[in-house]
Symmetry: C2
């Protein structure tokens, strides 16, 4: 990992909250510990005057109040969300953007209305090819002044688990999670789930905005088009065992049985297994998967009983999913520093 984070990166780290990894011990991430990536400022929205507009290539444009949405049948989805830039600081050579270590994740219970019936009600026309989601957060990136906006293909937009969420963990969305309404696309990286949602527009051509065309694409060079970032890649993380030293975060573990534990998830397929190494990745052993409380899109707990003897260790964990995806040992590189799902490594000192 490189030294020398810039003040610009620190400014981003100070406002984009990570989930401290000991919070992997909570099955549902408490409000205030879930990661946040907020490109511009958090808008202050008056729920009395706010409306959601559904327009573009639809037969019957809709304008819905928060009350309208809350009076419809509701749907709950427990979903693990991760930022596409999680792990960026561990990538060499360094990519300058929000400097995530490994904390850009959370697992929450989102409640709202299903998107598909709303699109149905608005009468999506046959010439529509994409659906655009526009937030109220406005700023400049890539030289363009814009509201944050991302699109989905019709097939993704019509998935029956895609939500317009107005609650998280049984409370109204807090401002930082998109009050009063956000999109939630389970299994996709977080940039897809547009916050402070104000407008949904059916388009006849693929959306060409900054966050679709330039950002969130896997490219090796600037002049490539690149593949769009979409499904969350397989990953396991470990709650660091023992106790930390304040400044270095070095971990001290007492000798004896130590229960290593963490969570694993993959947008692409179900988690098939988690392995643990206590020797830096030379040898691996299977961890126990814990029964999941939240359905397909929730992370899966795992644990591994380690008989810790005094010494220095590099603990590792890695997950595989049943589509055959396994975490790499080394970080993949791309221009945006996206989807680094390399094996998690935690150095610990075991003392008598």
């Amino acid at each position: 990992m490189s030294e020398g984070i810039s003040v610009e990166e620190l400014q981003l780290a100070a406002r984009n909250h990570g989930m401290p990894l000991e919070a992997l011990r909570f099955d549902v991430t408490p409000v205030g510990l879930h990661y946040l990536l907020i490109h511009y400022d958090i808008p202050v929205v008056d729920p009395e005057t706010w409306t959601l507009e559904i327009d573009g290539l639809v037969e019957k444009p809709l304008s819905l109040s928060l009350e309208d949405l809350r009076s419809r049948p509701s749907l709950e989805v427990v979903s693990t969300m991760e930022c596409a830039g999680n792990g960026r600081v561990h990538i060499e050579p360094r990519v300058v953007s929000q400097p995530w270590l490994l904390e850009a994740v959370g697992n929450a219970r989102w409640k709202g209305v299903a998107l598909a019936p709303l699109l149905e009600e608005a009468g999506l026309r046959d010439d529509a090819v994409e659906v655009l989601f526009e937030g109220l957060d406005r700023g400049v990136e890539g030289g363009e002044e814009q509201f944050y906006a991302r699109s989905l293909s019709l097939s993704e937009a019509r998935r029956d688990d895609v939500l317009l969420a107005y609650e998280v963990n049984d409370v109204p969305l807090p401002p930082q999670h998109g009050f009063p309404l956000r999109l939630l696309v389970p299994g996709w990286y977080g940039m897809t789930s547009v916050k402070w949602l104000a407008r949904i527009t059916a388009l006849d051509t693929p959306f060409d905005g900054y966050y679709q065309r330039r950002s969130y694409r896997l490219r090796q060079q600037e002049d490539e088009v690149g593949e769009p970032v979409s499904w969350i890649q397989v990953r396991a993380l470990m709650a660091p065992p023992g106790i930390p030293e304040y400044l270095s975060r070095a971990r001290i573990v007492s000798a004896g049985e130590c229960m290593l534990e963490g969570r694993a998830w993959s947008g692409e397929a179900e988690i098939d297994g988690v392995e643990v190494s206590v020797d830096g990745g030379q040898t691996w052993a299977g961890a126990e998967l814990v029964q999941r409380s939240g359905g397909r899109w929730a992370w899966r707990g795992w644990r591994f009983a380690w008989n810790a003897e005094p010494g220095e260790y590099e603990l590792c964990c890695r997950a595989r999913d049943d589509a055959g995806n396994v975490q790499p040992l080394e970080p993949p590189w791309n221009l945006g520093g996206y989807v680094n799902n390399a094996v998690h490594r935690v150095s610990v000192t075991v003392v008598e």
Copy 2:
């Protein structure tokens, strides 16, 4: 401000959340936006088995469950809390610890039981000189393995607004704010308000632990004893106007009337006034103070109508309190990088 934040500092920034300054627009800081400084790991506490012990130099030691505490008369205090290290990154030469810019603040409504009647009930003995508060968060700092702990003098501990809080903003304390119980000492920097409180002990000599003896003291050199950090110094902050550029956080403001707004607070005395400068501090004009909703310990809103003409500006704000304290133009230096309450400066570009 120096370049070159270390990975150790970034690790701290990733786990200790700041309040993005646009959230100054909320009178009460929503849960999840209040700043957090967590020295070690967030403990996972079972409220069914947790108790608060009150012992040491008392006639009648108490062991209280959360239910015991909740069944007592409750007290609410709206209080602005700030980290003693807020502004540390702006201090030259650099001090290495949690690298706060200016986001280490929040204003919340805390509910719990008053401390003084509990001390009374336990029968504080005449030979007690201090009261020690010990949390469940354990780790290593200054080479010492310890639970986080801080003491108060008897006169501070007996203030009628000092709380043992079990709720914030009408919800049970989230884990990151000290669930199930924390101390709250309004007007003092946040290190005083011990989280995950487990034990209160009356002592016959001043507490000599790391966070009292070495840390949180104003020293110019290592061999000084130094004055302890205590009351929050006077400060005003501004919600950055206009819109940001993603990476640089540079601000773009549209020409015309622009309402500058923010909050001001002082632990030492009531806010007496806030001044604004639009020329980097050469000339100042008075801002309007907004009626406060929360009582003595809550921050005070302020606003200033600025007729913004195209150009580059350095906006500044500074507060004074009615004890005659005024914010300095330049950051004060001390070994710990504490209590830097220098004037807030925000660079903006005004465009047609």
